[in-house]
């Protein structure tokens, strides 16, 4: 029993944990993104992540008591990222129709909505966000057509998708905002993304272009980003220490 504890809290176990997690992560790639994230959000896997985070947190705390700050920051940063992920997962699980965590809305110019939908054709109602979005105009801009495009007889590739919207939050004057790829809009704890687009017909049976906006609320993100900062500080300190170890006896192990 004592021997087992000594092994499990030692560096030898850490090597095996790293390599096992590496193989597991590679295995997730074979599942593909959708199945892998569904698999990881199962209760059993979330518990496994929690146990791993606790173990890494223990290593970090122990390194801290030994004044090994690089190792402490590295491990505590990792644990912090995992805790933030678990928090986000929990928020997604406990989301209600009054407080949805993730969903999308498809709009054509002039539409007003606060309802979020899910599923491949956005047919499952998810809930309502505490503000409304009115799509003023959805704009697709192309690059200037080049000689190559002309020779191939095709349109120039798309340079930008932009949804110009009016946001109405309760207790605030409505305001106009642009939502573009890489430029999400931040409203009341939600990030609103330019996600997709397509063609449809409007109520007069005229062809129309719709935009799909995705709404995501993830309260774990600040914790995850804090973890990133701590983790990266730890990596930098570690690298500095490895470089210093060369000037001394040549052995970095301690």
């Amino acid at each position: 029993m004592k021997k087992a504890i000594i092994f499990l809290t030692g560096l030898g176990a850490a090597v095996w944990v790293c390599l096992a997690c590496a193989l597991f992560s590679a295995y997730l790639a074979f599942l593909g993104a959708d199945r892998a994230s569904a698999f990881m959000s199962a209760p059993f896997m979330r518990s496994a992540v929690a146990v791993l985070a606790a173990a890494i947190c223990y290593s970090g705390a122990r390194a801290l008591t030994r004044r090994r700050f690089d190792s402490a920051a590295l491990h505590l940063g990792c644990a912090c990222v995992m805790a933030g992920w678990l928090w986000g997962q929990q928020a997604a699980k406990s989301a209600t129709t009054g407080n949805p965590a993730k969903g999308s809305m498809a709009l054509i110019d002039g539409d007003v909505s606060d309802a979020l939908w899910d599923g491949p054709y956005l047919t499952n109602f998810v809930g309502r966000v505490p503000f409304t979005i009115r799509l003023e105009k959805f704009i697709i801009e192309h690059y200037a057509q080049s000689g190559v495009d002309r020779d191939a007889g095709r349109m120039a590739p798309i340079r930008e998708y932009r949804s110009r919207v009016t946001v109405s939050e309760p207790g605030k004057a409505p305001y106009v905002a642009n939502i573009r790829v890489n430029r999400p809009l931040r409203v009341r704890g939600y990030f609103v993304y330019q996600m997709s687009w397509g063609t449809t017909v409007d109520k007069f049976r005229q062809p129309a272009v719709y935009t799909v906006l995705q709404f995501i609320r993830d309260p774990g993100v600040p914790l995850v980003y804090a973890g990133f900062a701590i983790l990266f500080t730890g990596v930098l300190l570690f690298t500095i220490r490895v470089f210093r170890s060369g000037r001394e006896a040549g052995e970095g192990a301690a």
Binding site: A14, L19, S25, A26, A33, F243
Partner: protein, 261 residues
């Protein structure tokens, strides 16, 4: 396998020939000549990247072709830095690595110009990709430096120097792999809505990172006593890097968000 009969192709083949000549001069013991050829190869590799950038009108980091050109250009500065830092002469090995890197760029990948899609128009584009360019080159060099450690026996002082150089190179590479991974996560949040999507390339990059994590823990535990296993872990890490760069990018099994290449 196609020959690139363009100015870009010419620059790539010139660089590859200079890399080969560098390695040859190294084999023949012509150190002064090798030094000049090695620097000339860098100039050609940098010209190749610059030409690509001017030709496409965006930072040449969009697809695998451009990624490999950048890796070839990163070799010389990183090799010089390592020589200055560790005093280990790796120029001949690095030049051969350059030939290996340029082979797919010269003969396999398409040089078709694509304009940047909206997803890649971000200030994080250059730092994220550049971290991985330099990180992967450093990890390849760490494995090459560790090559003598795989042999049984050998001079203890030499072994110690090689071990330290490999460990320092891997630590620098690990910093860059971490920054690439974290910047990619932040960019993923801004662009795709989430910092982690379990996209195949993300999970493989994490796996690569973890293998190097395993290496550092192992090295810390065993020191020089089992240097061969530690060196083997560096090669395992390089295997993951190579798989990430080739199989994950090119195979349809791993289709995902990273399909720009």
């Amino acid at each position: 396998m196609t020959l690139k009969l363009t100015a870009q192709g010419g620059l790539i083949y010139l660089t590859a020939l200079l890399f080969l000549a560098t390695a040859l001069a190294g084999r023949l013991g012509r150190r002064e000549l090798r030094r000049w050829l090695w620097a000339a190869a860098f100039v050609a590799a940098a010209a190749s990247v610059a030409w690509r950038g001017l030709h496409t009108g965006h930072p040449p980091m969009q697809n695998l072709f451009e990624f490999f050109l950048c890796m070839a250009a990163a070799l010389w500065p990183l090799s010089q830095w390592s020589r200055w830092k560790n005093g280990i002469d790796t120029e001949t090995r690095d030049a051969l690595l350059g030939v290996v890197i340029l082979f797919p760029a010269g003969f396999i990948f398409s040089e078709e110009v694509r304009r940047l899609p909206p997803a890649l128009q971000s200030p994080l584009f250059i730092p994220h990709v550049a971290s991985y360019v330099a990180g992967y080159v450093l990890m390849a060099r760490a494995a090459l430096i560790a090559l003598p450690l795989l042999r049984r026996g050998g001079d203890a002082g030499e072994m110690r120097a090689a071990d330290l150089a490999a460990r320092q190179t891997a630590a620098a590479g690990f910093t860059l792999l971490t920054s690439g991974l974290l910047l990619g996560a932040v960019w993923g949040k801004v662009c795709w809505g989430n910092y982690w999507h379990f996209d195949p390339k993300e999970t493989w990059s994490l796996a690569t990172w973890l293998v190097y994590g395993g290496y550092f823990h192992y090295r810390l535990k065993h020191g020089m006593r089992s240097r061969r296993a530690a060196a083997a872990l560096l090669w395992a890490g390089l295997l993951f890097v190579i798989l990430t760069l080739t199989w994950i990018n090119l195979s349809r099994i791993f289709a995902g968000l990273h399909n720009y290449a």
